[in-house]
């Protein structure tokens, strides 16, 4: 994971964009993580006959090359499906700037190197306005310093320490946590017999 995300930003002002809209269920019947780019925002991007919808921002010039989204409140609400994040990343999105994200979506993004800077409503509105200009706007999300750079401006964002570290180190959480196996075993050794779930097969 790079320490910065730089690129063209597209404005997606809708509030409460849920994971059903980000990744409709017909793309979920899969056992791999791949092949989800076409599914991302499919109902917003394509007509029934799979031709692109001219009214969707990512189908228009210059935003078909967007790497960053500026979004409405409560982005990623609803289902836990990580497919939504996989699809966004496969579509080329590397950062999503918003005021609030649903918890599971936020954690899923971190696991996949998708940066989600949280900004104030004022900053979001400012960035959304600039991103909507017909020439487009390029932003740099500087994860290390927790600022979004736009021209001369440096706008602060929130990101908790652990998420920031995960982005900067690009580590595998599962392998990293196994380094604490002794602590897990110690915890387990303190559990009573009836605190150890054993599911009947």
């Amino acid at each position: 994971m790079p320490k910065t995300v730089h690129g063209l930003a597209a404005a997606l002002p809708l509030a409460n964009v849920d994971t059903d809209v980000i990744m409709p269920k017909r793309f979920l019947i899969t056992i791999t993580r791949e092949g989800l780019a076409d599914g991302t925002f499919a109902d917003l991007r394509f007509h029934d006959d799979e031709t692109p919808r001219a009214d969707f921002v990512l189908n228009t010039h210059p935003w078909h090359e967007a790497r960053i989204l500026v979004v409405g409140d409560n982005f990623g609400c609803g289902s836990s499906r990580e497919h939504a994040v996989w699809g966004l990343v496969q579509l080329g999105i590397r950062g999503i700037i918003g005021t609030s994200f649903a918890g599971i979506f936020y954690d899923n993004a971190r696991k996949n190197g998708l940066a989600l800077p949280i900004v104030s409503p004022e900053v979001r509105d400012q960035l959304m306005l600039a991103a909507s200009h017909e020439d487009g706007a390029n932003y740099t999300i500087d994860v290390e310093n927790r600022v979004i750079k736009h021209g001369e401006a440096e706008l602060p964002f929130e990101m908790d320490d652990a998420t920031q570290t995960a982005h900067l180190e690009g580590r595998d959480d599962t392998l990293n946590s196994l380094e604490f196996a002794d602590a897990i075993r110690k915890f387990e050794s303190r559990l009573g017999e009836r605190q150890r779930v054993r599911v009947i097969q």
């Binding site: 509030a15 059903d20 409709p24 499906r81 899923n108 652990a162 599962t174 009947i200």
Partner: protein, 464 residues
């Protein structure tokens, strides 16, 4: 020092602090389904990892399976189901598949099997895992990468949430149910209002709810953004999980799983139960709802341009006009099911409205019991006959079905559904499908009238 129930649960499961500021928390029990787990298992394989404690996991088939018949309706869903079974076999994990009497919607199956108890920490790759808060257990949804993490380590990396208390005192108005309580809470707090919070419910209106209703309330706490929902343990919670398959094997404590008197919360909401009427959603977010005797909202003067745009987009998608009475809205379909409202108590309540009535001729009415056991229980009580005689399609298999349309129960473009489910998102029940969320009793009433109906009409009939 006084602690909230949430903090007690987190403290009791903390394994250690991590250098990056997170902590590791121990997962007592983990549930998987066939659609959010495949890539977790393949992740284990790629990293050469094994399952830390196989006996602490359960897999249930529920999201993609057909409910008209047992056999998968297509090759793709069969692949997901077979893949889960093979993964469970390989790693020696319990698998409740099609044809198993214990199969059903995961969040209906778990309490039925006595696999939840006050004081437990339960994770699952499904956002509605908040359901277990009804028992004073900490349950929450996780993504597939976290499913892999739990499989490999029996823990999760975790950041403590802020706490929100929603206190609801008083008696509910006639016709109002647990579903209406949570729909009201979503309305008051907003669809993202509890992002970053664990939400505890308290007050006499919560205490007076049976466990089924409490599960409905905690289930939909995720629709306000709550990453966890909680209700303090009481005798009702302990009673509900007695004499179940696993209950004798588990003991995490009992009534101590409550917030201490004087515990402080970051945010508090007070709601008067008497103000809660039967509620119906009109829009495409669960907080876009009104009392059933209300009307579709119209633009108001003080509205921001953003709010106006959101309103008009939702009205356009839903094919509704501002000011239209909710009870004038005709429906095409009625669906009773989902982890929110498909338990035996929900089926009994809907059947009490349907008894001796007929579904309107134009309505396609479906009921999918929440689990195989629930279906068998309902059939032993004759509830299936009430549904069938009224004209409902009583499904012989259990699963999520039309709640999220991952099987062959997919609504058509423009189809309008009275639904006992949890999400009215665009495209949720099918591309272009229009969902109105409501209680199962209200779905039954709507099915009879062929339009959204006020369940209180049926209550007064019964009283005469």
């Amino acid at each position: 020092m006084s602690r909230t129930l949430y903090d007690k649960l987190v403290d009791a499961h903390k394994v250690c602090d991590l250098p990056d500021g997170d902590m590791l928390i121990y997962v007592d029990f983990h549930i998987m389904n066939e659609y959010t787990s495949p890539q977790a298992f393949s992740g284990l394989d790629q990293k050469g990892l094994s399952v830390w404690r196989p006996e602490a996991h359960l897999s249930v088939v529920d999201h993609v399976n057909a409910t008209r018949q047992r056999d998968p309706h297509d090759a793709a869903s069969k692949l997901l189901i077979d893949n889960l079974e093979a993964n469970c076999k390989k790693h020696n994990i319990a698998f409740y598949g099609l044809g198993d009497r214990r199969q059903g919607i995961e969040h209906v199956v778990v309490p039925e099997q006595g696999l939840v108890a006050p004081g437990m920490l339960i994770a699952c790759g499904d956002s509605h895992t908040t359901t277990y808060g009804a028992f004073g257990a900490l349950g929450f949804g996780i993504g597939t990468s976290e499913v892999e993490h739990v499989l490999a380590t029996q823990t999760l990396r975790y950041k403590r949430l802020k706490t929100m208390l929603v206190n609801i005192d008083g008696d509910l108005a006639p016709g109002a149910t647990a579903k209406d309580i949570i729909m009201k809470v979503v309305q008051v707090v907003g669809a993202g209002g509890a992002n970053g919070y664990a939400v505890e419910f308290s007050g006499s209106a919560i205490r007076s709810q049976e466990m089924s209703g409490r599960m409905t309330i905690c289930n939909m706490a995720v629709e306000l953004g709550g990453r966890a929902a909680l209700i303090g343990a009481d005798e009702k919670a302990l009673e509900k999980i007695k004499a179940r398959a696993h209950s004798g094997t588990l003991d995490f404590g009992g009534l101590e799983w409550n917030s201490d008197p004087g515990a402080e919360y970051d945010t508090v909401f007070e709601i008067n139960a008497a103000d809660i009427a039967p509620i119906v959603s009109w829009g495409t977010s669960p907080d876009q709802s009104v009392p059933v005797d209300g009307s579709v909202p119209a633009e108001t003067e003080g509205m921001t341009p953003k709010a106006r745009e959101a309103l008009n987009r939702a009205l356009g998608y839903m094919g509704l006009k501002a000011g239209q009475a909710m009870t004038d809205i005709e429906i095409d379909s009625a669906f009773i099911g989902s982890c929110t409202n498909s338990r035996i108590e929900d089926l009994r309540a809907a059947a009490s409205i349907l008894k001796g009535k007929k579904v309107a001729g134009s309505v396609n009415a479906i009921v999918v019991p929440g689990s195989t056991y629930t279906r068998l229980q309902a059939e032993s009580e004759g509830i299936d006959r009430v549904f069938k005689e009224a004209g409902f399609d009583w499904r012989p298999e259990s699963g999520c079905s039309m709640c999220l349309a991952m099987n062959d129960d997919i609504a058509m473009d423009g189809e309008r559904i009275a639904s006992s489910t949890n999400r009215n998102f665009e495209g949720r029940q099918g591309r272009g499908a229009r969902t109105h969320l409501m209680s199962p009793e209200m779905v039954a009433a709507a099915a009879i009238h062929g339009r959204i109906a006020d369940v209180r009409e049926f209550l007064s009939e019964g009283a005469e």
